[in-house]
């Protein structure tokens, strides 16, 4: 049986006439890394602040461990908090920073000493124990902030955009460290971020939020491969998924999207779930890496023209126009393509998503 560290039930929070959190329900299992993601204003930070006890919800229950903490003050909730700005005292040494929370709890001296040494060893901070925290590099300072929070052994650690202000180059290192230490220590984490790539890299599961609601919960790969709605499809993945409006049509058993002046074949897509949608308006979604660029036409291909080539380091982002439709294609490095060149495109078999235009739900995930 999986133990649950945090249970949020039907949480609702309004500010004046604005509904910030709208009937949110989810659980975080013990030892799990769970991320809430969404654009600015989606309610993810308000949800976190309600859990921490910094905001009082209008409705709903918050259970941490076995206890209903909905009406308890922050310090009684057994949660740790790490914010965007590092919560370390720059004038104190790393040791003093780590011992701080334990001193407040009035733990015996040798117990404090033992815990500091144990956590310092686990987080590779031993050699910095006597260094003033303000003198440390960004990545190390964040590690000290983490050490400070986990040393008091909270039931769950709440991270609010901890890596947002970090430089691009150090971010990758810190995302790796965060995930490794979380696994090694077995800590339970609820993490809030606007950065979908970061959430994918560190999480066991992700909840995608939009306008106060959680739209989808799943593992990073589930959410990436099977987004349940247009919003999730667009929010997860970079470059963004191509979304093309048109009418679903069938010709000689093959399905295709009729988008005004362009016909896009949905090569190899099983038609069973789509049958009821033939002749109706839908939105076709294809990830940029699921489109192949060919120099010769083949079965299931369609023609276009390259309008822009961008270097993404190890990859190319190629922008292709087919009359009124623009597609972004992600390709491995290749040198045979030029701007202005006519080419042929093909959607990789089974990689097309089709969304209901009215409900914006993914038709492929509907029960038949």
């Amino acid at each position: 049986m999986t133990e649950i560290s945090l249970k949020v039930e039907n949480l609702r929070k309004t500010f004046g006439n604005t509904v910030a959190v709208d009937d949110v329900t989810f659980e975080v299992r013990r030892g799990e890394f769970f991320s809430l993601i969404g654009p600015s204003g989606c309610g993810k930070t308000t949800t976190l602040r309600c859990i921490a006890g910094l905001e009082k919800p209008d409705k709903g229950r918050i259970i941490i461990g076995e206890r209903d903490v909905t009406n308890l003050p922050p310090q009684m909730r057994n949660v740790g908090l790490v914010f965007q700005e590092y919560a370390v005292f720059p004038h104190m040494t790393v040791y003093e920073n780590m011992a701080f929370g334990l001193k407040i709890k009035k733990l015996p001296k040798d117990e404090i000493h033992n815990r500091v040494l144990r956590i310092a060893e686990l987080l590779n901070l031993e050699e910095y124990l006597n260094v003033r925290a303000g003198r440390l590099a960004q990545a190390l300072m964040q590690r000290v902030a983490l050490a400070r929070s986990i040393i008091v052994e909270p039931e769950i650690l709440l991270l609010d955009e901890p890596l947002t202000l970090v430089d691009a180059k150090i971010k990758e290192l810190m995302r790796r460290e965060l995930r490794r230490y979380q696994k090694e220590l077995g800590v339970t984490i609820l993490h809030v971020t606007h950065d979908q790539l970061e959430a994918m890299m560190v999480s066991d599961r992700i909840g995608v939020m939009c306008q106060g609601k959680i739209l989808q919960i799943g593992t990073p790969i589930e959410i990436y491969d099977k987004p349940n709605s247009i919003f999730v499809a667009r929010f997860i993945g970079s470059p963004t998924m191509n979304l093309i409006e048109g009418r679903l049509e069938q010709y000689n058993d093959e399905l295709f999207l009729d988008a005004d002046d362009v016909g896009i074949p949905l090569y190899g897509v099983s038609s069973e779930k789509l049958r009821g949608y033939i002749g109706k308006d839908v939105v076709l979604g294809v990830r940029p890496e699921d489109i192949e660029i060919l120099t010769q036409p083949t079965e299931g291909s369609f023609a276009g023209k390259i309008t822009l080539i961008e270097s993404l380091g190890s990859k190319l982002e190629i922008i292709v126009e087919l009359n009124s439709v623009t597609l972004h294609v992600l390709s491995p490095l290749r040198r045979d393509l030029k701007v202005g060149q006519p080419i042929h495109l093909k959607i990789r078999p089974t990689k097309a998503h089709v969304f209901n235009k009215t409900t914006e739900n993914n038709i492929m995930l509907e029960e038949v």
Binding site: A168, E172, Y224, L308, L333
Partner: protein
Amino acid sequence: MTFLEIRNIVKEFGGKPALKNISFEVSKGELFSISGPPTAGKTTLLKIVSGLLTPDSGKIYLDGNDITETPPSERNIGMLFEIPPVYPNLTGFENIAFPLRVKKLPESEIRKEVLRVAELLGIKHLLDRHPSTYSGGEYQRVGLARALVRNPKVLLLDEPFRNLDAKIQEFMRTWLKKLQKEIGITVIHATHDPLEAMAVGDRVGIMLKGELKQVGRPDEVYLNPMDIEVTEYITIPAVNLFDGVIRIKGGFVEIDVEGVFSLRKSCEAGFEEGEEGEKEVIVGIRPHDLRLDINPRRDWVKTTLALIQPYGSEVLLLLKLNDKYVRAVADKTMMLTEGAEIYINIDPKNIMLFDRKTKRRITI
């Protein structure tokens, strides 16, 4: 053709060098991206180009004229910062009109110019609203409109997207590049993110510790970085570096990588003309270039998979090789579990070699 030339710019702050003899040229209509870590000197350089700072020595030429001594207001250079100076108590229209009002232009002309730029940037709906109602991307676009309204010859962008949500950043990059091509304005763009620079710039300049180390097209710089520092800076996920020794013998080079890999490839030149023998090197291999298999293969090396991190369409792997960690990238469809054995191999064609003493790239 050179439109803007930066020649031998030197700047010190309190005896500390901030810019060490910076020279580069930008063509008319070009988008030039400068990338480097914080404190590399990017902002100092942009301030010198705009006239907000005076260089200790060196010259700036714009359109054939020496503008080194020209005051900022007469340079006709627009600038957009990370946090643009948008006044909260003015509407979008008044914010954009502000620089024109300072110039005391007639009302009808101001109106025409503000509408022209607003149309261009797709922000007409923001003109009557106050900045407090803007999203991050809208705020930045109004700031950009303000910088563009005087029809500047050059536009300087200093970390224009840094404060935005990741998803909006991505959108703004493409938007900026399209807009820049549409209006044909000359731009210098500075960012701490090498991937942003490569995605946006027609050419990129890599700036490290006050030095402009390398300038070129994004793909050129990525494929042929000049030394270890540049390679480490521009490669995300981080490049793997190993100590190695190369030996040249009769048309072949043998590359020993930390006693773990032994590679061999043909080589035309020696280290120098006719030279044979041994050299200590650092071998660089990018995570994307490491070959992986879950089954043992002859001459491949066994590692243990320590960490899997989904990375969009791919997964990032951390592999334990003896007591060292190696980073690799795999396809998402590869069936992987943490703790399992993974076999790795290096294609000699994909490695980069650096002289261990000078840290410079060597080609053989």
